[in-house]
Symmetry: C2
Subunit: 341 residues, 2 copies
């Protein structure tokens, strides 16, 4: 007795903006498990900006996504069949099973998760890779001190919202940058940031810097960058001496045609000397050794109600491409997920 | 009985390239010492790229140089008259007495130097601010590990030559970047660098990167930047994961007209994510606490003959403007000094 499931593969590489035509929905026959394998029925798929990079054929920190293969992606779900001694049916697991309703694994890269106090979807967000990304950049690169000012771009997003809340829990002044009044209201009123700058109100780097200067009257000591381009250049112009800048993402440029990088160029490197600051790029998967510590702290804060989060949930795998394109355009509000069951 | 001495003041602020007209040579009457003061007859004046920044009227890490005031500058000389209990006639001292044949001080910022084993001029170079700049960036930002490759721009200069020699003493592979075959030969044959790239052989960033890739076949782990612009962009394209970049100077841009910064723009910040590298600007005067340690180590290496250096010496104060303009154009070879006696 067999069954079918759906998945989405990369049909073609985008040139510039991603379109729905770059993806293809397929229905496959499930294959029987071999000894040592287990089958997971995925409940949620995580959509994240890094996926855009994998769609290109250029050198990066990870291999490009192969054409015709299941799109890469983080998932949470339940074990539904097991020939692996370490997993039993009913175990909740997080893994990288991709844009697919189910997946077969030998257990490598799967982590059991405890969903008794925390909803399963949160393990793809605030207590998953995005939360850990925030935790690493905040604690290991920015290291804000009392009295300093932290700026976070994409402040209402899965990563930015955690960065700002960690700062507030530590008593540090936090200014968010987000797109539109609704996101800014969420950032200040629900997440408790001290201020939020709506970048859509600025027409250029200079006017954005003026809005930021108003929200950060003592200058900027730490910056957590998810965006790049004008946002990054505006922040750099306001850095205090010995500032720290964590480069987590540069979403502004992810859809540039190959070879075009002008939007995110750092136009005034002399600021490196004026403010003697440190700028450091990072990828959270380089630091797997710290995940148990970081995720443990984040889970504790969520369970105590001290860390809030919001999710945008697309209703079905077929909607994943549209939701992903929306994410790259900033249309999501909070962590973007796809419901698979 | 009195005497006169000469000094050079800032006559006007340059717009773009510095010219001789931005300076004015003056002859002054020496004034009698007050209680607590001493008079130093300067033997050498140090010319350094940072002086260009002080000639502007823009915000930087230091106050702009005032119009009509003695040009800022490091000096070494001998005490010739003293009403200060801590200094006696004949003491050799290093200080910031500016572009002048002599200076009066209350002792603040003057350091006694021991010229028994090391020539007095070296206290403005290899065992002075430039040497300490190299020491700080090398030890506190780059921290190269065995088997790594370090790149240094302006490799034959006062700072770059020390960076590369420190790396060689530690057994690290070093590639210099310098202008012209004579400087490159000096860097490899006399200073012992493993390779030197002549940037004049490259017509653009891409061809410069190709030359660098040949000289650094295992990629670049550490970079000490004195130049900026194409040099920096070429190096960034070749960085290995977890590389460190110390921004010491960006001389390419020091003579840009105000507001124009395009030459040194960092064109591909995505490399921050691809290579997860750290880039940090620094100013050696922020770290005065480390000078005794660093200068002590450098003096030991010079005395043992393990650290080589070269000087370009202009013969008289009147030649200082011309020598300074040459320095900004890369015409000097080694540490640029002006002989004042």
């Amino acid at each position: 007795m067999t069954h079918t499931y759906r998945r989405i593969v990369l049909a073609s590489r985008p040139s510039g903006w991603v379109t729905a035509e770059n993806f293809r929905l397929e229905t496959l026959e499930a294959v029987p498990l071999k000894e040592g394998e287990l089958r997971v029925r995925n409940h949620y798929l995580s959509l994240d900006p890094y996926m855009r990079g994998r769609m290109n054929d250029t050198k990066s920190y990870a291999q490009p996504q192969a054409i015709g293969a299941t799109m890469v992606g983080g998932t949470v779900g339940l074990v539904v069949e097991s020939k692996n001694p370490h997993f039993v049916v009913g175990d909740a697991v997080r893994g990288m099973l991709g844009w697919a309703e189910e997946g077969v694994s030998d257990g490598t890269g799967l982590t059991k998760i405890d969903t008794r106090q925390i909803p399963i979807s949160a393990f793809l967000g605030v207590v998953g890779m995005p939360g850990m990304t925030a935790w690493y950049g905040y604690n290991k690169i920015l290291e804000p001190r009392a009295g300093e000012t932290v700026v976070v771009s994409a402040a209402s997003g899965a990563v930015g919202s955690v960065v700002g809340q960690l700062a507030k829990l530590a008593g540090v002044r936090v200014v968010g940058i987000a797109g539109g009044p609704e996101k800014c209201r969420y950032v200040t009123e629900e997440l408790g940031f001290d201020a939020c700058v709506d970048y859509r109100k600025a027409s250029d780097v200079k006017s954005l810097a003026a809005l930021l200067a108003e929200a950060a009257p003592k200058g900027i000591d730490c910056h957590f960058e998810n965006v790049g381009g004008d946002v990054l250049n505006a922040v750099l112009s306001l850095l205090n001496p010995f500032a720290r800048v964590a480069i987590c993402g540069l979403i502004t440029d992810y859809n540039n045609p190959a070879g075009e990088m002008a939007k995110s160029a750092i136009v005034n490197p002399a600021m490196f000397l004026v403010a003697r600051f440190k700028m450091q790029g990072f990828i959270v998967s380089d630091h797997l050794d710290l995940w148990p510590l970081g995720l443990g702290e984040l889970a504790g804060l969520v369970a105590e109600g001290k860390l809030r989060y919001r999710e945008s949930i697309a209703p079905d795998l077929a909607h994943a491409p549209e939701a992903f394109i929306g994410l790259l355009q900033g249309k999501n509000f909070g962590k973007q997920l796809v419901k698979l069951i």
